[in-house]
Amino acid sequence: MRKKMLFFFISMSCSLQLLAQSKLTIAVAANMQYTIQELITEFNKANKTKIDVVLGASGKLTQQVLNGAPFDIFISADKEFPQKLADNHFTLEPPKVYAQGLLVLWSVKPNIQPAKDLKLLVSPAIKSIAIANPKTAPYGSAAEAILKKYNLYAIISSKLVTGESITQTSQFIATRNADIGFTAKAIVISGEMKGKGKWVELNSADYPPIEQAAALLKHAKEANEGAAKQFYNFLYSAKAKAIYNKFGYIVK
């Protein structure tokens, strides 16, 4: 009996170790929440790597990395946050852009029809407008930029409801707690949200391009550098590009 138990524990710990060997933890910008799942599935058709995903606003994840979070790869929603990590020597190589994101205006209220010119936001029928925190979420700062460009920001700022990431923002809109809001195209055209309410793509010339970059982090060296590099390179492969395309990103 004892021997059996011992054997059991030894084999358990061995298998745990095996698991640990091919495991990655990656920090992913919230707008990629659906895209990343498909990327991982595609990647694992040829590999057997367990990839844990930590979702959040890019600024928040950057903050976590700077404070020692054990992430192997950081997939951001902009270029600045990964660059900040590079400047602080947290990356193994300079970050690279993998796709460009698009901003949409979305509402699931039946009587609201989102329009490109954003004029409807001024209407008294719209009481709350969801936006991601501009300080930490690149889609939030893009939304703020377009509102300022159209000279609407000052008028509607009292209606703005801030989500801590683009996922919380989308959740505010999807649950109708906010009448309308700004989110990522990748979220509204994903499987889960498809067909919910109405959205319109905003004029991409009216906000700074949301160039999304990823970085291979130093922590990968301590854990599982081979697998981390493989997945990092996969993010720039033709297969990955096809997935970005499918989720509404612009790929160059």
Binding site: A57, G59, K60, Q63, V108, K127, S128, A130, N133, K135, T136, L160, V161, T162, G163, E164, F172, T175, R176, N177, A178
Partner: protein, 224 residues
């Protein structure tokens, strides 16, 4: 320069919550401290729930309840033109629920610890139930009342999860000090976060210090 609005808002929220809860909790605790019954046990359980539930559970249900897409939220909007989510009133309701046990428990245990003869004497001298409560029982449990008030206040100041879920981080309306700290840390403004955090730290220390020294004094003088 840091904005003082989050601190004022926190103070306003904590004071309003404490006041409302005091009004609710005194009769509730009085009723709960009386004879036992199965119904009372159920109410007691419900009152204690916020102690063990993660704030996110309360936040999640309130978010669903307040949403205009659902019955309660829709009804409020249709009939009263009120939307509770992302508003100060919404936070206030959430805080009242969330801090309920912190007010009820001390008062209830204070009332239970009083000798029944006190109540009986008051009744036999012709006092009504209400007079007995306000003129005889409550003055005898001042430390418990103070504990309830202080804990509720402090707990509301420390509220974070619920506010994060239903607040929407609106400056002046729902951005409380605890949210402001989170926000500043995320935005790399460690200095501002430090100022807010420092103020809350000193405030909590002062509040608890006052409570404990007052209760000690009360206990020393209790039997004179």
């Amino acid at each position: 320069m840091i904005a003082l609005a989050p601190l004022w808002l926190t103070l306003k929220l904590a004071l309003s919550t404490t006041l409302i809860l005091f009004i609710i909790a005194v009769p509730l605790a009085n009723w709960l401290s009386g004879d036992k019954g199965f119904f009372k046990i159920i109410v007691k359980t419900i009152v204690s729930m916020p102690l063990v539930l993660p704030p996110t559970v309360i936040g999640f249900y309130l978010l669903l309840a307040f949403s205009p897409a659902n019955f309660f939220g829709h009804w409020l909007e249709e009939w009263f033109d009120i939307r509770l989510v992302f508003s100060f009133s919404g936070l206030l309701i959430a805080s009242v629920i969330y801090s309920l046990p912190f007010m009820v428990h001390p008062i209830q245990s204070g009332l239970s610890s009083l000798s029944p003869s006190l109540k009986e004497a008051a009744f036999s001298l012709g006092k009504t139930r209400w007079q007995t409560l306000t003129q005889v029982l409550l003055p005898n449990i001042k430390p418990s009342l103070l504990t309830g008030i202080v804990l509720t206040f402090a707990h509301t100041v420390g509220e974070f999860g619920v506010v994060l879920m239903i607040g929407g981080n609106m400056p002046g309306k729902t951005r409380t000090a605890s949210i402001a700290i989170y926000d500043e840390v995320e935005a790399f403004n460690y200095h501002n976060a430090n100022v807010y955090a420092g103020i809350l730290l000193v405030l909590s220390f002062a509040i608890l210090l006052i409570l404990y020294s007052f209760n000690r004094k009360m206990q020393q003088t209790k039997f004179y």
